[in-house]
């Protein structure tokens, strides 16, 4: 017989798995604790990505429903630094731009504060403002009523007011009714409606909105719009934007500020992404610590099982067989932790999203990433102990009782 005639047999996958599970079966508590480290790391990362994805999905849904074709025109500053005014005809001019579908406006009523009753000290304005509004405002801004009705041609002339969401809350007005009145600019106005929060026109939230004619007749409103809202066809938004300033105030186009409120929401999203990356880093640190825990468990496992290693070598295990067994154990530990962590992270995402009324979203790439991170951690943590176990001389291993 020649030396080449004898070769070690390979292990079957099932036997590798069973061999890797020996440590888990004989020391379940330790296995569970070291897998827990991995689970926490993976759960943190999955939850961070899941929650930020859910938040983004919610923002996208909001933008979809509100539309991104809203542009606003406001007066800026004059050349000498004073507050500019929009010309009284600004609305008409803007409405003449071809692609503009709808136009509306509000005008800040100077020096008109809003109080619940006449007994409130004058200084406690609550940061609320009075606005003269056009009756077509809801269509242009996407503002929706929570209670009551919007102003119509008749109520716009009467002392009737619609409160923004924050304004209603600060004033303590829960519903619109004929007997519910608030003091606007020193006069009593009946609350006919309360708005829901308006994400694209946040200025409405803190406003007491009265009809344009009523503001002029009763509050001394000067008739100059302070914000003009326009909706245009989606494809034409940029074109409209480029001519909007000059159209609203042909005499001094530099004194006009044009903005797209949906951009602010998108910017909020970008800011959230930066924060997400930071939290993801924290999750990665947790995973690293978990990996160290698994490595520690594996090193101890090898030390405790010297006799078993010696026996296996005597039974014909090669260095590779021993290495494979301990690497499989490390991977199995990490995989169990990773699976538990992914479930936990998805659960945290789902419950947090539910509490915020967001659509729960856990991107598939997150789970794939979690799997990859888990296997990488398991390999790194198990490599040294496995190689060490494989290199142990069989006699040394057997000499240990």
């Amino acid at each position: 017989m020649r030396a080449e005639d004898i070769h070690p047999a390979g292990l079957r996958p099932g036997d590798v798995l069973r061999g890797g599970a020996v440590g888990l079966r004989t020391r379940p508590l330790r296995a569970a604790l070291s897998a827990l480290g991995i689970a926490i790391g993976i759960a943190a990362m999955v939850a961070v990505v899941g929650i930020s994805s859910s938040s983004r999905a919610d923002l996208d849904r909001t933008l979809d429903s509100l539309g991104t074709n809203l542009l606003t025109v406001s007066p800026g500053r004059t050349m000498d630094g004073g507050l500019a005014k929009l010309p009284a005809r600004a609305e008409d001019m803007v409405a003449r731009i071809g692609p503009v579908a709808s136009v509306s406006a509000i005008g800040r009523v100077a020096d008109a504060n809003v109080y619940r009753t006449d007994r409130i000290p004058a200084a406690e304005t609550g940061g609320l403002a009075a606005y003269a509004v056009r009756t077509d405002l809801p269509a242009a801004t996407g503002a929706r009523l929570r209670d009551g009705t919007w102003l119509n041609a008749a109520t716009a002339r009467h002392p009737a007011v619609v409160l923004g969401a924050t304004a209603a809350e600060r004033l303590g007005v829960g519903r619109a009714a004929p007997e519910v009145r608030v003091l606007v600019g020193g006069q009593w106005f009946t609350v006919v409606g309360i708005l829901q929060p308006a994400p694209l026109a946040p200025e409405l939230d803190i406003g007491a909105l009265v009809g344009w004619p009523a503001a002029q007749d009763r509050l001394g409103f000067d008739g100059h719009a302070t914000t003009v809202y326009t909706r245009s066809a989606d494809a034409a938004v940029e074109d409209v934007r480029s001519v909007l300033g000059a159209t609203a105030n042909p005499a001094a186009p530099n004194e006009v500020e044009v903005s797209r409120p949906s951009d602010a929401l998108a910017a909020k999203r970008a800011a959230g992404e930066a924060f997400t990356r930071l939290l993801l880093g924290v999750g990665a640190v947790a995973l690293l610590v978990g990996g160290v825990g698994v490595a520690n468990t594996m090193v101890i496992s090898v030390l405790e099982r010297l006799a078993e290693i010696g026996l296996r070598r005597a039974l014909g295990a090669t260095r590779g067989h021993i290495r494979t067994q301990f690497l499989a154990e490390s991977l199995l530990l990490s995989a169990l932790g990773g699976a538990a962590g992914a479930l936990l992270g998805a659960g945290v995402t789902a419950s947090y999203a539910a509490s915020q009324s967001w659509p729960p979203v856990v991107p598939v790439w997150t789970l794939a990433g979690a799997l990859a991170a888990t296997l990488a951690t398991g390999t790194l943590a198990g490599l040294y102990p496995a190689v060490h176990a494989g290199r142990l001389p069989p006699t040394t291993a057997l000499a240990t009782p």
Partner: protein, 224 residues
Amino acid sequence: MIELTNVTRTYAGGVTALAGVSLTVAAGELVAVTGPSGSGKSTLLHVLGTLDRPTSGGVRIAGYDVAALSDAGLSALRAHRIGFVFQQFHLAGGTTALDNVADGLLYTGLRRAERRRRAERVLHRVGLGHRMEHRPHELSGGERQRVAVARAVAGDPPLLLADEPTGALDTASGAAVVELLRELNGAGTTVVVITHERELAAALPRQVRLRDGRLEHEGTVHGT
């Protein structure tokens, strides 16, 4: 079956465990290796079992030149040609007798079902057919050692090495294990038993006595 030619084994630090041992064991023999503690018995068993390589000298086991085999080759040789029985049994706790024996065939490349089938057969052969589903802590010492013997011979190795197989057993259990080794030898297996019990050694057909790493005496011990 075994051919040792002038084998020495020196450990780091200058300790000489084997100092030129030449020994030939033919197929089908039943040999006792005796000697006091520190005489090199364990080292000899490790060299015979290819768990350790000699510092110098030639070793041929079951027709293979150990020096010419890689570590993987030696592993395969152990898997297919050599069975081990240890004083401490080395059974896996929490694992049934059947699976302990079946795991002895783990590195032979056989399927699990076949390993278990053979394990069942060999357990019957060692008289433990009724103990297959018992775990080591539910077995007596003698039964445990018989499970260990079953594991060693499950793959039908031509060579069986036993290191103090009765060292942890009472006399009756020890005698049963020796009887089992005799039976296996009768069926054709070459058996080498390392022991410090003279009585046990004297009952075997051939004795080899080691002292200070050298073969001191060969033949039949007559109470010297």
